[in-house]
């Protein structure tokens, strides 16, 4: 997967490039709008991360130029201003998602993966990791063949983790996807919910599947200790 980051702030740009490269993406960095348009049109990218506040040609113009040329790659906008106007303007102009600075890198990663996945994979009726299996049709969970009883929200939480296994999901994303809480809410709640889910899924098993990544979020994966 190949990404283009258009960001004029050198430090932010460098960290974004490093982080995304380390997350497994081939990442190019453009430090102004002109380079951004040039690269976006010359190369074939899977996704564009676009800062709105750029010197000279700003992000809106970059977005416009790219859309006008007929490229329909997903665009994620970074903005320092949390204005509804900006949001609406961005989505109208053909952006697919936006993030307000300061944002958590894990949040950016999760959004990028969501955009890249969009419309590509059909959601299956079964998801599993190691010996944990989710039957989405029957709403049934088993681990090592043993049935686990979950509440509806616990099921939704586990489903989210499983569908994006291996990805660190930030608390804000979990709150938004599972409980539809689209604002900075009490993150204690997610902690407690994960702890309770973990008690049902991992307690009594040698291999712990749900892992906490401090300061970033939660991930479900087959650990190396296996």
């Amino acid at each position: 997967m190949k990404l283009l980051v258009v960001e004029d702030e050198p430090k932010t740009g460098a960290y974004l490039k490093q982080g995304l490269t380390e997350a497994g993406f081939i990442t190019d960095l453009a430090s102004d709008g002109v380079d951004g348009i040039h690269l976006a049109l010359a190369e074939d990218y899977d996704l564009l991360v676009l800062d709105i506040m750029l010197p000279g040609i700003d992000g809106w113009q970059v977005l416009q130029a790219i859309r006008r040329s007929g490229k329909d790659l997903p665009v994620l906008i970074l903005t320092a201003r949390d204005d509804v106007d900006d949001r609406v303007k961005g989505l109208d102009a053909g952006a697919d998602d936006y993030l307000v600075k300061p944002f958590a890198f894990s949040e950016l990663l999760a959004r990028i993966r969501t955009l890249l996945r969009r419309g590509k994979t059909r959601e299956s009726e079964w998801v599993s990791v190691a010996d944990l299996e989710l039957d989405l049709l029957r709403r049934r969970v088993t681990r090592g063949g043993r049935r686990i009883d979950l509440t509806a929200k616990e099921f939704a939480l586990l489903e989210l983790l499983l569908r994006r296994q291996g990805e660190v999901l930030p608390r804000s994303l979990i709150a938004s996807q599972v409980w539809d809480m689209n604002f900075d809410s009490d993150t204690n709640v997610i902690e407690v919910a994960i702890r309770r889910l973990r008690a049902k899924v991992d307690d009594g098993f040698d291999v712990k599947l749900i892992r906490t990544v401090r300061g970033m979020g939660y991930v479900i994966e087959r650990t190396e200790a296996e």
């Binding site: 809410s185 204690n188 401090r214």
Partner: protein, 469 residues
């Protein structure tokens, strides 16, 4: 719309117009009275002469006497200068004319009998630059069956007219002088009367952000301006309060940022002071990350509040069923509540117009606050009820410590914490309730904290319908 005329100019013009009307009216009346007086005088003088003339005419008994009449008349009129007398027969034949100034051509036809002479209108005419005024009477002779003679008698009234003209000039002069003097006086008077307004303006000029404590002494202004002075002072009170809050807020921000940033700096410096294992470095980074996360959330909350302060927090109204929102929030907080063995209970339901995201956030903050301060095994009760027909009250009560009275108004201030010692461990930065208040106000509602013997209760009051503006 153009600027209205200045008050002094308006008062001046109004006063001068009134004064001019009064002076013109007075002058005109004076004119009429004097003119009438002159006419009376003339009529009396003419009447006196008519008595003489009547007697002379009455002495005419034969046609011969008639021929002698001019001579008798001359005798009777000796010494009467400025008097013009003509006598003619009923047919208009001139019998006598003691005048170098002819009467108008058909003067004799204006004759009235002596009984009506007191009310007869004057004849007036001009000859050779002179103005005359006279009466014509039908005076009977003593000749039997003869028609009465026409006797015309007129006075030269040129001296009256000259007097009237001199009077007019004098009045006009006085009029102009009066108007100028009155204009100056009213200008001076209005300036003096408006002096308190200028005083207020000079107070206003002296006010700046750093000198907001100036006030207008309300007892020193005239009664008409008390209202204005009081409103002005009220405005200053509110401004001073907002400025104080803003200054406090800036100080609070600095303080709130200083602690975490100094922590981060110290931590990084200590970590770098010697070589460590990668686990140690990782620990420093994780710990830093948590701090950054808190800072980022605090900044987001402060931006939200700043937007509310700038009146940019405009709700996007939708039909919201509050009970559904509350149930969704209960689902969210359920794990946390169960952890502390707290029961979440809802009573009532209502539909209102509001911004669903904002309302959810406000109720979430109240719930989070209630769960955090509830005692283990307690109950958090959320009641929704229609209040006064056009408002809905959402009350969130928890069992626990009650809120001291002196803190109930300040509890919604930014960064305010009931217990300052629980600074760091508590979840938020003390902005949650401030956000609730901003959201309530953006919807035209309000929020208040009530103290109960066994806990705290927050009541969020929201209008059912949309509030314009």
């Amino acid at each position: 719309m153009s600027r209205p005329l200045s008050i002094s100019l308006r008062l001046n013009l109004l006063f001068l117009i009134i004064l001019a009307l009064v002076l013109v009216g007075g002058g005109a009346m004076l004119f009429v009275v004097i003119e009438r007086h002159f006419q009376e005088q003339d009529r009396m003088e003419i009447a006196g002469k008519l008595v003489l003339l009547r007697r002379a005419v009455a002495n005419v008994r034969t046609p011969d006497d008639l021929a002698m009449l001019p001579k008798h008349l001359d005798d009777a009129l000796v010494g009467h200068h400025g008097l013009h007398v003509v006598v003619a027969s009923a047919q208009g034949k001139l019998l006598y004319a003691a005048s170098d100034r002819a009467f108008p051509a058909d003067w004799f036809s204006a004759a009235v009998p002596s009984t009506a002479i007191a009310e007869a209108p004057f004849l007036s005419w001009e000859r050779d630059g002179m103005t005359l005024r006279g009466l014509v009477e039908a005076v009977p002779t003593s000749i039997e069956r003869a028609e009465p003679l026409r006797v015309g008698i007129a006075l030269d009234i040129e001296h009256h007219l000259m007097f009237m003209q001199a009077l007019l000039r004098a009045l006009l002069g006085a009029f102009v002088v009066c108007l100028i003097a009155a204009g100056l006086l009213t200008w001076f008077a209005t300036r003096r009367a408006l002096a308190p307004v200028r005083d207020m303006a000079s107070v206003a000029k002296g006010i700046s952000a750093s000198r907001l404590n100036q006030r207008i002494a309300a007892e020193a202004v005239p009664s008409e301006l008390i209202d204005l002075a009081q409103s002005f002072n009220g405005m200053l009170d509110r401004l001073e309060e907002s400025f104080r809050r803003l200054a406090d807020f800036s100080a609070d921000i600095a303080h709130e940022l200083r602690t975490p940033i100094s922590n981060l700096m110290t931590q990084a410096q200590v970590a770098l002071s010697k070589s460590r294992s990668s686990d140690d470095y990782r620990e420093v980074l994780y710990s830093g990350l948590e701090e950054y996360d808190r800072l980022a959330r605090m900044i987001n909350d402060m931006l939200f509040l700043a937007k509310a302060d700038n009146k940019q927090l405009v709700p996007r109204y939708e039909d919201v069923e509050l009970s559904a929102e509350v149930d969704a929030l209960f689902e969210f907080y359920e794990p946390l509540a169960e952890d502390k063995n707290i029961r979440l209970m809802r009573e009532g339901h209502a539909r209102i117009e509001g911004d669903p995201l904002m309302l959810r956030r406000a109720i979430a903050n109240l719930l989070s606050n209630a769960v955090r301060h509830s005692t283990m095994g307690g109950i958090v009760l959320l009641e929704i009820r229609v209040h006064a027909r056009n408002a809905v009250q959402i009350s969130v009560a928890n069992v626990g410590e009650s809120i001291p009275d002196e803190m109930r108004s300040r509890i919604f201030d930014r960064f305010y914490r009931v217990d300052p010692s629980r600074h760091r461990e508590g979840e938020g930065a003390g902005l949650g309730l401030a956000i609730v208040r901003s959201i309530a106000e953006a919807h035209g509602g309000q929020v208040e904290a009530l103290s109960q013997s066994d806990g705290a209760r927050f009541v969020l009051t929201l209008p059912i319908g949309r509030v314009p503006g």
